[in-house]
């Protein structure tokens, strides 16, 4: 399959706020159910093992006019909850059978309660994760939370979920993780062959189609991107940080690229690479998921950093690994986790002589010229003075 066709399909999925791919998947069998979730991370393996399709919801983006959603939120609250409410109250998510609200911030946490009140007949759950990373403390708590989640899904579907079933799902998600890693590595090594806007669309597609289809799509993309001849530009290599929840408009990613930056790593849609390594497929599946969460998961501002010296190390490691020349801190307006953490991260970058700039966006930001000027100047500075 040609890159053009793959990206066209991804763009269709990106633009489709009716979530027809998920609807069609569900319509194919009356027993099928769809479980939606919000950023950053949920254990999709358990949803999959329950015979349900995980559906990632990251708001309505810049294509949806928010009318009702604004009546639910004050002006000083970020945009993702208001456009998610808009999706809910306009009936676009009526087909889903449940929704998970992971622990990320107070806004998404409170949205779980609002969703309960708006959709009293649906499965709605706040999904808590441990901020204590000791096996016998946070790990034990988390395993019991996972059991609770598994049992809730079993009750919803009317079928028990076996350990073997979760292990089989882990194997499938291992393959997805490997491919996501490969694509990110491929982009880092040859960024001109895999533009960030394409990789973003490819990853975004993974939120709204079955995992098996996404795996096939990523394989096709890798093969096609390898063959594609694209010109190498004199762009600088940057890492994007702070965009793990509310997503930037696609145009913002394109703008950063057009201004002379190769995005060699980012934290967009982090859930698909939250667990950093392959997981065992022959053990106690929930324990395996918990171990991976505690000891081999990505770092982001939504997590507690137990030791002062570890703050910013994940980002620093990314800068080193991807030979980045600078960091662009791009966080959504009013994003508590990203904006509270930012001063600590910028200090860490300064300490290690990593150039950086910061700006804010909203999922419906329309004016790209100021961002283009800012990132373009940053890129020029890196090229000329670093």
């Amino acid at each position: 399959m040609a890159i053009k066709d793959i990206i066209e399909r991804c763009t269709e999925l990106f633009d489709d706020l009716e979530f027809n791919a998920a609807k069609n998947w569900k319509a194919a069998d009356p027993d099928r159910k769809v479980m939606a979730y919000m950023p950053v991370y949920v254990p999709e393996e358990i949803i999959h093992a329950a015979g349900m399709m995980p559906l990632g919801i990251v708001g309505g983006g810049d294509q949806m006019e928010v009318i009702h959603g604004d009546a639910y939120y004050q002006s000083y609250i970020c945009r993702i909850p208001r456009s998610t409410i808009e999706l809910g109250v306009t009936g676009k998510l009526d087909f889903i059978d449940g929704m998970l609200f992971p622990s990320i911030c107070d806004v998404i946490r409170n949205l779980s309660g609002m969703w309960k009140m708006i959709h009293p007949d649906k499965f709605v759950s706040y999904f808590d994760v441990p901020q204590n990373f000791v096996d016998g403390i946070g790990g034990e708590y988390y395993v019991r939370e996972l059991e609770h989640l598994r049992d809730g899904f079993a009750e919803l579907t009317g079928k028990p979920i076996s350990n073997d079933a979760i292990n089989r799902s882990i194997a499938i998600y291992n393959e997805r993780r490997r491919l996501v890693r490969e694509i990110y590595e491929f982009r880092s090594e040859t960024p001109w062959k895999a533009p960030a806007s394409e990789v973003y669309l490819l990853m975004r597609a993974g939120l709204v189609i079955p995992v098996e289809e996404h795996i096939a799509m990523m394989k096709d993309y890798l093969a096609a991107a390898n063959e594609e001849q694209r010109p190498l530009r004199d762009s600088c290599r940057v890492v994007i940080n702070g965009s793990f929840c509310e997503q930037p408009p696609l145009n913002l990613i394109k703008t950063i690229e057009m201004s002379g930056c190769y995005i060699v790593d980012d934290d967009y849609l982090l859930g698909n690479r939250w667990l950093l390594e392959d997981l065992a497929t022959d053990g106690n599946a929930l324990q395996v998921l918990a171990d991976a969460f505690l000891h081999h998961s990505a770092d982001t501002a939504a997590k507690y950093c137990t030791r002062k010296e570890d703050v910013g190390q994940f980002l620093l490691q990314s800068v080193k690994q991807h030979k980045a020349e600078g960091v662009i801190f791009a966080a959504p307006s009013f994003c508590d986790p990203a904006l509270l953490e930012r001063p600590m991260l910028t200090d860490r970058m300064t300490e290690h002589d990593v150039p950086h700039i910061s700006f804010k966006y909203a999922e419906n930001s329309g004016q790209m010229q100021p961002i283009r000027e800012q990132t373009g100047t940053f890129a020029d500075t890196l090229k000329l003075w670093s």
Partner: protein, 426 residues
């Protein structure tokens, strides 16, 4: 009304308690005591006292700075150093206070904490706040994660998790830092005193059920919760304070007096309100005046539950010391899910015979604020009573627009009048 600020003996008593605590905090070089910084919700004062440590609360320092009109400059200072204008102003006031010499309200420098006891209860910002403080101080931090009660109930798993953290992380860290061995009987004694004070606090808050309420449960309420939410829960001082306070309120009921305000007794009770959300601190007196001048009394508020919900029956229990501390943390107001908060507000309106609900939405505080517009609609729907919405901030004076707030309040009082006349016509 009098022009001088009127203070009851309980208020003077509290003022002395707070002053003594600040003096102890700023004299650690002489008294040798260790300092634990912690937060109001999930405040483990009974446990902290077991290690002879002092309790320092950054939110309270920010409030003190807000009321003394000092927080604005501190916030702007933090923003100049890279802290976003979008985030919590308590955090920025705290960081700003450090950059201005970390001067306590008594004018003496505050010592750096020996321990940051991060009680991550009901507010995400707490977690990053203490990471930021650790970034500045470099001292030891111990975290107590209190799971959010997303389904509106406390599960065994949640309770066990908190207890385990207390046993295996928090208590060992406090023993190590203070050099004092943990004595569970000492904790039991502290908890016994907590429960005694809590009984009287609940009595005081419930006294507003009297039509002609003897208290204002928001503006006055913030004074009433002072000792129990801060460094005094579990002390004999707190037990004494609440006994004196109860006595004063009993007298007010006997004399058929309304709430005391900074300008004396409130002559008339025209409107009975339930208020959701914290107050604004930078213009506290001006804000309060907008209510008492119109004869509006707050008969119940959720802010007075942020450091512990006692009126629904919870008491610290010396027979189950650690479990009881866990349940206390899990039950704090902002750790409750939105349906639960709506139920509480609805019940308050009914139980306290309120005319309606007023939400003071705080820009800084997503934990409180996100979802409040929906809560308002739900409460209106369930009670049939009018609700109104105003917006201010905690300690950032830039977000207090007196004219705007006053306009909205006046419109709201008119709405209540209209509703009354409609009801009496029907």
């Amino acid at each position: 009304m009098n022009t001088e600020v009127i203070k009851e003996s309980s208020m003077l008593m509290q003022k002395e308690m707070i002053a003594r605590n600040y003096d102890a905090l700023t004299s650690t070089q002489e008294n040798g005591r260790k300092v634990a910084s912690t937060f109001v919700p999930g405040n483990l004062n009974e446990l902290i006292m077991c290690f002879d440590m002092l309790n320092n609360l950054p939110e309270i320092n920010a409030i003190q700075n807000g009321m003394r009109k000092k927080s604005g400059a501190m916030i702007m200072d933090a923003e100049r150093h890279g802290h976003s204008e979008d985030v919590c102003t308590y955090v920025k006031a705290d960081i700003g206070q450090m950059s201005k010499g970390n001067i306590a309200p008594n004018g003496k420098p505050m010592p750096p904490p020996d321990l940051l006891l991060l009680s991550y209860t009901g507010c995400f910002t707490f977690m990053k706040w203490f990471e930021l403080l650790r970034h500045e101080y470099g001292c030891e931090t111990v975290m107590l994660q209190v799971p959010y009660t997303g389904d509106g109930i406390i599960t065994d798993n949640m309770r066990d998790y908190v207890v385990k953290q207390l046993k295996e992380e928090v208590i060992p860290a406090m023993e190590r830092i203070s050099g004092v061995k943990f004595d569970i009987d000492r904790l039991r004694e502290n908890l016994r005193r907590s429960a005694a004070a809590e009984d009287n606090l609940v009595w005081v808050l419930e006294s507003a059920k009297n039509v002609r309420s003897p208290i204002d449960a928001y503006f006055g309420g913030v004074y009433y919760i002072g000792p129990i939410f801060t460094a005094f829960r579990g002390t004999q001082e707190a037990v004494d304070y609440y006994r004196v306070l109860r006595g004063e309120i009993e007298q007010r009921i006997e004399q058929n007096l309304g709430p005391i305000t900074p300008e004396g007794d409130m002559p008339e009770e025209k409107y009975r309100l339930v208020v959701e959300g914290p107050p604004n601190w930078t213009h506290f007196r001006e804000f309060w005046k907008m209510f008492y001048e119109e004869g509006a009394v707050v008969v119940s508020s959720t802010y007075t539950k942020v450091g512990g919900v006692y009126d629904l029956g919870f008491r610290h229990d010396p027979e189950r010391p650690l479990e009881s501390l866990a349940e206390y943390c899990l039950g704090c107001y902002t750790n409750r899910n939105l349906p639960n908060r709506v139920e509480m507000l609805t019940d308050y309106i009914e139980d306290f015979q309120a005319d309606g609900l007023l939400i003071n939405s705080i820009k800084s505080c997503n934990s409180f604020s996100a979802g409040q517009l929906m809560m308002m609609q739900e409460v209106e729907k369930r009670t049939g009573k009018p609700a109104a919405f105003i917006e201010t901030d905690l300690v950032d004076p830039r977000y207090f627009s007196a004219a705007n707030v006053k306009n909205r309040l006046e419109s709201y009082f008119q709405m209540i009048e209209q509703k009354r006349s409609q009801s009496s016509a029907a």
